[in-house]
């Protein structure tokens, strides 16, 4: 099939390997995430990689889209450096406080504005919120068929793709008519590293910023006001336990461990 126009949704998130540093200010009851860098959501790199592989095979273009504060320009530049052709930053105060329904509405508006898109790829879930809801909801706003948990993706005969999905106890392969929305899991590929050439090229690629006024948004579902869900209190669960030390030779330790297991009610 001739070139596909692919949009990839990129969410900037606080670097997931530093979540041990996330906390809550006991006085203000607000989130503390100081000094944790913002990166592209790991699975979104898999989505971008999948898009780039399709482009390499079939031609076409890849657009990276992000709904985020202005600083996300840096993350979109990284997507361009990885190989995306163009980037769109959807940034407006009116988008603040969006839940997944409101977020997916804005992303859908951007996809519509891009013109006829063949395929929208997302990560299966974001590392910070981890709702795994945006992709299916984006599909619904667009009225496209959508699938999650994609671990394989292949362009088929004109107008269709094959999507392999991973479930608990099976793999299910689907044929899906384009345009479609597909979210990918970690096993689908290994995202490429950005090369220096890529970084240089990225500087010259188009990056547009769209505000609410530029997009065909549904005012009823805009931002905090339009989000059906509202955030309440946040807290940090205390999971600490007593942690007694078991000491001795390996044999003595093994004996002590087994004794604890028996005390816990196991028949050994």
């Amino acid at each position: 099939m001739s070139g596909l126009k692919i949009a990839v949704c990129i969410k900037p998130v606080p670097s997931p390997d530093q979540y041990h540093r996330v906390g809550i200010d006991p006085r203000t009851k607000t989130l503390v995430r100081e000094g944790i860098p913002t990166v592209i959501n790991p699975l979104d790199k898999n989505a971008l990689e999948a898009a780039l592989q399709i482009r390499e095979k079939c031609g076409g273009t890849v657009a990276a889209i992000s709904m985020a504060p202005p600083a996300a320009e840096e993350n979109l530049r990284e997507a361009l450096a990885m190989g995306a052709d163009e980037a769109y930053l959807l940034s407006d105060r009116a988008f603040a406080g969006s839940d997944t329904l409101a977020t997916s509405m804005v992303l859908a508006a951007a996809v519509k504005k891009l013109g006829p898109v063949d395929l929208v790829l997302t990560g299966n879930e974001s590392a910070d919120g981890g709702t795994a809801q945006v992709s299916a909801q984006l599909g619904e706003w667009l009225g496209y068929p959508h699938l999650m948990h994609a671990c394989g993706l292949e362009v088929m005969e004109d107008g269709f793709i094959r999507v392999d999905t991973a479930r608990e106890d099976c793999r299910v392969a689907y044929r899906v008519k384009l345009p479609a929305v597909v979210s990918v899991v970690r096993t689908i590929n290994k995202p490429r590293f950005t090369s220096l050439m890529g970084v240089i090229a990225a500087g010259k690629k188009p990056l547009s910023v769209w505000t609410s006024g530029d997009l065909p948004v549904d005012e009823n579902f805009l931002g905090l006001e339009g989000s059906p869900t509202k955030a309440g209190d946040i807290y940090q669960p205390d999971l600490s336990r007593r942690c007694e030390l078991l000491e001795g030779s390996a044999g003595e330790i093994a004996g002590a461990v087994l004794q604890k297991l028996r005390a816990a009610g196991l028949q050994l």
Binding site: P16, W141, L258, G265
Partner: protein, 337 residues
């Protein structure tokens, strides 16, 4: 009974009955409905809503675990893997019957159906709840993990209905009651298909090990286990203890384990065995979230300051292999003597 304001649990069918998470949600639903009755003066009925190609056997189980009513939604096109069609009929039913609360299991199936339904009926959905309760106003308080579980946040859906939430398997406990079984209500919705989504093939995976969620003892291994040979020792130990083996992500990535379905944590399973015995695991939040509700926690790590020790009842500061070997020797000696 039209189910108005009812509390619905969407039941996913499996090859041999219903997924256990549905029973867990029915039990929790029974408690939530009771609490709603106290707060608002009228207790909503708990509905188990089952979608599928034909009616399902074994519905007594649904009543036993908390359902007041069972709604069986049948259509030949509602084959298991057509999540799009399941979502379509559920959204229609929700519009028609206006339940107050709808709960889903966050399995692969549920986590695809739930957001689709929520987008169709334009309501809120809280993902992967760690807890659900009813507040003084009778609203469902949905407690969701963020940042891999490091932080919990409460989510409310004050205006739109239904209030919807998804919950991972293993978060709540399935508690049987002695309510009598009733007669399921069967509905046969209209449903069309087109060529947009078609199932090409289904490859079942044979899972040999004991299911992690059902095991009384879980042996978990992390990157510190060090090698595939050492991993075999964990498997052997598990065999002797009748335990299931779970892993962290680095161990999965090393290829030591049976596969993705044995990973414990944020993006894997939630386990709450009687005993959790961990080897070479650092204690990253992403993993701890999945094992924190275990009964007894014993951890083996060479680093005396390993984070995991904070979440453990007992710690062993030693080499994973040495401790596993000693345990195997001790158990074998016990068996022969």
């Amino acid at each position: 009974m039209d189910g108005k304001n009812g509390l619905w649990v969407i039941v996913e069918r499996s090859a041999n009955g219903f997924r256990k998470v549905a029973l867990e949600l029915l039990s929790r639903g029974r408690d939530l409905a009771g609490r709603l009755g106290e707060v608002s003066g009228s207790r909503p009925g708990v509905w188990a809503v089952v979608t599928g190609p034909g009616s399902a056997p074994g519905t007594e189980e649904l009543y036993r675990y908390g359902a007041d009513e069972v709604l069986m939604v049948c259509h030949p096109l509602l084959e298991e893997h057509r999540t799009d069609l399941h979502a379509a009929v559920l959204a229609d039913l929700i519009r028609e019957r206006s339940p107050g609360i709808v709960l889903f299991g966050a399995t692969a199936w549920g986590s695809e159906v739930a957001p689709t339904v929520a987008a169709r009926v334009k309501t809120g959905l809280a993902a992967h709840c760690a807890d659900l309760r009813i507040d003084g106003r009778g609203l469902l308080v949905q407690c969701v993990p963020a940042f891999g579980g490091k932080v919990l946040g409460e989510i409310l859906c004050p205006d739109r209905r239904p209030q919807m939430a998804s919950v991972r398997p293993g978060v709540f406990q399935a508690v049987p009651g002695d309510a009598p079984a009733g007669e399921p209500l069967v509905v046969r919705p209209e449903l069309d298909d087109d060529d947009r989504i078609k199932v090409l093939e289904v490859q079942r995976r044979e899972i040999t090990g004991k299911p992690l969620e059902e095991a009384e003892v879980v042996i978990a291994g992390g990157w510190g286990v060090g090698s595939r040979e050492n991993w075999q020792l964990l498997e052997e130990l598990a065999g002797l203890l009748g335990a299931a083996v779970g892993c962290t992500r680095p161990a999965l990535d090393e290829g030591w384990t049976e596969g993705e379905h044995t990973m414990i944590g944020t993006s894997g399973k939630t386990v709450r065995p009687k005993v959790y015995l961990g080897f070479g695991i650092s204690g990253a939040t992403h993993h701890v979230v999945g094992m924190k509700d275990s009964g007894l926690v014993i951890s083996v790590n060479t680093n005396p300051n390993a984070e995991i020790f904070q979440f453990s009842d007992f710690k062993v500061v030693a080499d994973a292999r040495a401790v596993a070997e000693a345990l195997i020797a001790e158990l074998k000696a016990g068996k022969t003597s």
